[in-house]
Symmetry: C2
Amino acid sequence: MTDERHGVAGEVDGVLGSLADPTRRQLLDLLAARGEATATTLAERLPVSRQAVVKHLAVLDAAGLVDGRRVGREVRYAVRPAALDATARWMAALAADWDRRLATIKRVAEAAERDSPH
Amino acid sequence: MTDERHGVAGEVDGVLGSLADPTRRQLLDLLAARGEATATTLAERLPVSRQAVVKHLAVLDAAGLVDGRRVGREVRYAVRPAALDATARWMAALAADWDRRLATIKRVAEAAERDSPH
DNA sequence: CGCATGTGCAACTCTTGGGTTGCACATCTG
DNA sequence: CAGATGTGCAACCCAAGAGTTGCACATGCG
């Protein structure tokens, strides 16, 4: 149920792809609020069919954001923050990196401005 | 060129949607590396047409991740880390929230286990 | 001016992804 | 056992999005 991915890049990729869909984010909120829930139960709280929910859960599972365990005839899904957390850190690092580069570029531009003022 | 959005939710939404596409992420990397670039220049470094790049830049601009300024007959785009940073914070907060809820649920479950052991 | 270069707009194709319905299979419960 | 409940699988529909091509318009430069 939980397929392994290779590297942080792939993980981040999956998480971003999953989070792009609003229904999926809503699904995660519902799961976080309840701790555990089945596709059928979740579908009752959403304007979509159970099958649609199942597909979304499959995507979230592949991204590592959710985990499903079978209990008797039902499958209970729960949220798993690790992947989300990793992606948050990745984004923060990326933002910081951009800031760094932009600062450097700005500094260079100002230096050039001093050397040859118009 | 820079349309205003309302609220953090909308901003996060746009950023997540933008970041879901690999070409767009690549575009952001290129922009961060160069500081400034035109759609035509960027297209040369990518396996897609200039028009495709223009469309992607429009999406990124709407999400607030990029800003385009006209210089003569060309439009130079630059990365703008603010929105990315905001989304990173949002994600980190979300992850923390999930952790909190999961911890609570686990605690409750354990308490129930103590009260009525099987 | 005349040409090269860069952008903007529009129409079109094609694939992907979200969503649905229908039915078969498994599992609990009276 | 029989019915109820929950999942799984498959085929199908449809809109959105990524990408393309063609051409018109603007701006820089010899």
